[in-house]
Subunit: 462 residues, 4 copies
């Protein structure tokens, strides 16, 4: 009689600290055994010999179906976004529920759940974007939502319609401290950016490259310093998301030496893109517009060192896809002919893991355990999904990805599964791709072919 629903046999299993060869026994969607010769007791066996067996990726920074102002719709809904994530080796993503001005967060959540419900290929859990922290929101809504399992909030220091003022940041941090909630902070100084946009407009410098020049390192470093100073004053931990450069990294290291509890995240765009990419011909630069913008090669090197030395504990995609070409009546917001109208964001949920695997693990910059920590375990620990998610251990969900380190292929958008019409990483040669993905014991992708069904993904309360 079969003891296991599935056994993954013979692979090289890696956790955030360990690497070992064994079989993994799965029953009822959960890992129930790590051992030898388990295949004989299995209904189904996935042979992973010669391959890596890793926890499913968790992408804790993903934008899906989020309105971006001016009526622009993101290129991914939950179906396409989670399908793309799944093919990229992820089993959980954490998109945002955006508070809309004049609407209760609760109501927004109902709408987001409605969009996600029954359409997902991965598990999903929401962060709440707080952009209107009224006394009612802070005093009643957030505590109630926290109790309902919405335990992480994101705040912005940039974007006219999203940014919090300094008093709002302090009050939101204060509530988070009292609740024990996690606060993610997008650190760029909106006022300094606006000042620089004005200067560029006055000089009629309107091309995509101006996006990077109006958001220089100084405005990110300043906001990073300020956010951490507020965390210090309030006495609460924060997450600095999508750090792009060495100066901000130095600020984070210095704050830690002062005893401030800061977790830091970086993204693929800061490892393999540069500000030069925004200067591309014929408005192609628009394809690389995101905030903070990619920087130079020295900042890329600083980000790699931050991944190596532990300054960064999170590696996310900040997936935020928009369509570049106007096809079949679709909007083409990325085609805007003035830098400040180009929506900020690039697709990347499917390419995040392959880029880090290929550029990091295969090129010897980080080991496979650090890869697992950066892409799965630390996300689960930071946002309260651990130990259910983020590792391969007895009792954890059987969210498992089999990676073949011998498969080499360039990134081609034609082969990706998102709703955008380009990849900023087009042509980047990748060694090591995920081939099989198991979600709570169900084989969703096998040998790079879809097996799962829309709706197999579920919502994760925390």
């Amino acid at each position: 009689m079969a003891t296991f629903d599935i056994v993954i046999s013979g692979g090289t299993v890696a956790t955030a600290s360990d690497t070992f060869v064994c079989d993994i026994g799965i029953r009822d969607g959960v890992v129930v055994a790590l051992g030898l010769d388990l295949a004989q007791d299995a209904k189904q066996v996935l042979d992973a010999t010669g391959k890596y067996v890793l926890p499913g990726g968790i992408d804790s920074h993903v934008h899906i179906s989020q309105p971006s102002g001016d009526g622009i719709v993101m290129a991914d809904d939950f179906e396409s976004g989670t399908r793309s994530a799944l093919f990229g080796g992820n089993t959980t993503i954490m998109p945002f529920c955006l508070q809309e001005r004049g609407k209760s967060i609760r109501q927004s959540l109902i709408e987001y759940h409605a969009l996600a419900n029954g359409t997902c290929y991965t598990d999903v859990s929401f962060h709440l974007i707080i952009c209107e922290p009224t006394p009612e929101v802070l005093g009643q809504d957030l505590p109630a939502l926290f109790n309902d399992g919405y335990t992480s909030f994101k705040v912005f220091m940039t974007y006219e319609n999203l940014r919090l003022t300094d008093p709002e940041l302090l009050q939101t941090f204060d509530v988070a401290r009292d609740l024990g909630a996690t606060v993610m902070v997008h650190c760029e100084n909106e006022d300094a950016i606006k000042f620089l946009i004005g200067k560029h407009e006055a000089a009629n410098d309107l091309r995509p490259g101006a996006h990077a020049r109006t958001r220089p390192v100084a405005v990110e470093r300043e906001a990073t310093h300020r956010a951490m100073a507020f965390a210090e004053v309030v006495g609460t931990p924060i997450v600095i998301v999508h750090v792009s450069n060495g100066q901000a990294i130095d600020e984070i290291a210095a704050a830690r030496r002062r005893g401030v509890a800061v977790t830091a995240e970086t993204c693929p765009q800061y490892l393999v893109l540069t500000a030069e990419d925004l200067e591309g011909m014929d408005w192609e630069g628009a394809k690389f517009v995101c905030s903070p913008p990619p920087r130079g090669t020295e900042d890329q090197a600083a980000c790699w060192r931050g991944l190596q030395d532990g300054t960064f504990e999170l590696f996310s995609s900040d997936h935020c896809p928009f369509v570049y070409d106007s096809v079949e009546g679709k909007l083409n917001p990325k085609g805007a002919k003035q830098f400040k109208h180009i929506p900020n964001g690039i697709p990347g949920v499917e390419t995040r893991l392959p880029i880090l695997f290929s550029e990091g693990v295969m090129k010897g910059r980080i080991d496979i355990n650090r890869f697992v920590a950066l892409t799965a375990t630390n996300h689960a620990k930071t946002y309260g999904l651990y130990p259910r998610k983020g590792t391969i251990a007895v009792g954890s969900d059987a969210d498992i990805v089999i990676w073949d380190p011998k498969v080499t292929a360039p990134i081609r958008h034609a082969n990706l599964h998102d709703g955008a019409d380009y990849s900023p990483y087009e042509g980047l040669e990748i060694t090591g791709w995920p081939v099989t993905v198991v979600l709570r014991g169900k084989v969703m992708v096998q040998d790079r072919a879809l097996q799962g069904t829309k709706g197999d993904g579920t919502y994760l309360g925390r």
Copy 2:
């Protein structure tokens, strides 16, 4: 026939770089000769043998007759304030003309000039405090005022009624860059302070010591970082006034390494007072309430190192006097029984130079040339009074102070000349006091006795 109106003979003359023994020949209020044996050609001779002969002190950070909210009046008008400055070895002070909301700066200047006119014992030149930088102020008033010789502006990042918002800071910096004006910045984060005041009020912690605890190093460091980031973004030099601690000093040094043009100032209160002083019995702590507050002994040491290694180029008093005891119907604002109602500021225009001379020069921490640079020359250079003021050189105004390094006496408010009723430095033993003060060739104080007349001081356009 006498060639010189006055000759100061035989003293040890010090400039910001040199020390030499010679006679100084003065004619028509100006130094016309440095040489030997000049006394024979003099109408009047001041024998300075065995004494230091230094440029008159310039105190570029002094508050006089400034309203401080709640109807509180400062304890010094121009007469008492400049008399006190004079006895403290100063020949020029730079008070502030405060823009009042709803009133033109031009009108305020008329009023301040009216107050100062005919009443001063030292020369005077105004900085403008900008608290309402409307488009009209920025686009018309400041350029016109700059052309009229009002070339330095001060802005606040704290105090509800004075603080500029971030966009206002950026715009004011931008105008200053275009004009070539100098901007002084008071760096403390008002919103974080308010947050902490709220916490302390909620805890019913209302004593003077709470003033220091609600303005911790983090709020000063944050605002310092932010102001310098704005200077970096705009591309204009700024002056960070009254720096109190090592963390802010480290930020300033780091900004300079990034190429930001920052001048920094510290004050006596950060060398010889500590936050402990605010915890004094019976609300005596109110006597030490100023912003930023004094810190600990390690921060004192950091400030000394900053004076030694060149991080600080300016040493000012931030004289801002209030009455502590209610005498003869006077208001006694310092006696307020809730920390947030105690006006921020302490007297010090008369004790600034003796404290630095005694604690710095006589204790071997700095040499006499650095003393001159920190107390006179650098102020003149920073604010456009050089070479008329700030040094002893042919062609410069004969603003000269004779110091006797052998006079030892404690600071006693009874011996001072300001309008307050206490000194925060009461009892501090001082070795080295100014004994004779010459203003533009006129002996104003001789052997510590007043010779000059109210109105001998004049206004200095720049």
Copy 3:
């Protein structure tokens, strides 16, 4: 039929990254299964319900039976040393084989193996101390020894008879790079120490406290910088052992930012002792003489931050025991009445893990996974024992310790098992002690009582 020799059931298992509750199946000395309900298939069951189940501690920095000059013998031989280690929750220790001048390392190894053979209670693996790196040693002996599994070398920058010169350091690093060997470096500047010893002797300052004052932070920081500069020049990774202070930590962090591959270690003495302890009455200070010496409380805090933020990857004891009282004809080297004759070293192999568990995990400074990483996993990875040692995973040796976090008792030397006659940590209250220790599947200690036999420990080639 029993599938497992032993099952450890129901405990909270922790690795360097994960924490989970499951049974551990052991067969033939190796972990063969992690799963649920394994006890039914076991010959022997150890119930760990409510307790932590951790990988056996690896102490990679232990001195045993090493001559220390002047005929002084260490207080521990392999029997007492490994027994003490075992009771302290260790299953592997890494002592040193000391090259003796004029004797081949090979010959020294024969002698050390003879001492260890058949007497150990834990597994053992030797580092080689290189103090005479002749061309023959570098060119022939070390490559041959490396091939035989002696893959880690230790070098000293202090101690007259042990220190290498700068050319010797460079050459040894160079050989290590070519071999892929690991080099541990004791960083203190011998010449500066000798200079200071001379000054103290001239001042007749000979008490134990002078030990700390003649080895100030500057001499450790200097040597740390120099060793890392050599590693940078040669291009080889090194391990900086027993780092004691914040300045050295800052140097290490800075070197990493420059891309130097440095692993850093600290020890219990730098967390809970201070230089003040050496100033004790009646020469009791001698009990705390080790090198580098303990520092002040700020440096303790810096070491804790280094353990938290990842600067330190190794936490070792630097166990180096000597007898303090002359009892039964034993030598009492610690009783020397001149600081420079007091042998450098203190016992600690049995107290290392309890101190970090109690002060670190139980006081919330680090989590249980970081504890495992610092005390077991990282040692195995750094020195080539992984994955056989250092974790609980399928295929790894069943070296497992059951910790009871509810046992509270002070450290008393009377309860320890080493060969010294005192503990520098006497009286320190500890919450959380190891109660059961399994070595390669054999229960060596059960409920704090010895079950194993001398000789159960074996030598580990690498």
Copy 4:
């Protein structure tokens, strides 16, 4: 009757802190008056209208007639060296008296004085290079020589025949502290350099460019750190000479923050040359071989910042000239065909001031006062020549240079006056050249033509 021997009239006089227009009255070789309309009382008038009038340059780091091993003689003796210095705007140079092994320093001094006596065009004062600090040298010779006015010692951490060991450095620093002497330190780690030379030789990489690659930043940074650590341990101030890069600058700044008294010097080669220059075709790279070697453009920028922010107080030439082409039977050591045989050193005593004036003052990087401080005043203060030398003040020697900021001409070795046969700065366009040089009241160069005589320069005891 003429009161003044010479009056320099109408020029813009600059000291290290002040700039003013006045006449300078000189009598008996000394400045006796600064005033207006002094020309009428003068025997001779030098009209400086429209020109700068500056203190004569002091070059405190110059090698003259010094043997450099292998029988190589420097290209300058005291006659040519001081003539070249004079034309470059200098009135004092400080060459080295090199202790030779097996010979008393006293004897060496007799020989150097004999070489200098009657041959100099500028004043001269010797530093002593200590390379054999025997107990007799430290205990008897140096104290006696110090009393005779030889108050500055130089020590080397590199060069086989010159370098001191660490104990020798400590002992020499200790003697200097007791005496109050100044110690200059050449900071490069000889052993690491030798190690790298061995590697390059093994790789048959023998061209001039290998000189820079075998002396990387790490070996200079390491030695800088070590020298300052010794200064910290001993408690004595030191001068770090010829600092070449940003990492060493950072070390110096950090040491100062720790309270170490360090003075730092940089040189023209680190501002306008790079390591690329050593890679020149046909062994032309040999013309740029000096130690430390020039670095990259980022390090040039760091050196400029160090000059601006006060990290550097001294700007010297490190003039050390050798002949490149074999002409008329002369040796041509710079033509050596293996990098390690190329003598370390380049000419520069005549171009130091024009380079800093043109690249620094005229390009707005530093002001004229900082120029004076860096090139004259600080040298005099550091090495005990102040106030006799280094400034223009009543009582100081009349060592004065008139600079014409309107003269523009490239550096051409054909126009220089040293004994080498090339300039490493050939072709560099210079705006601002010295036109007239006065030495103790004697016009040595007038309108760029020699007026003075060999032997006009004298020796300066201190």
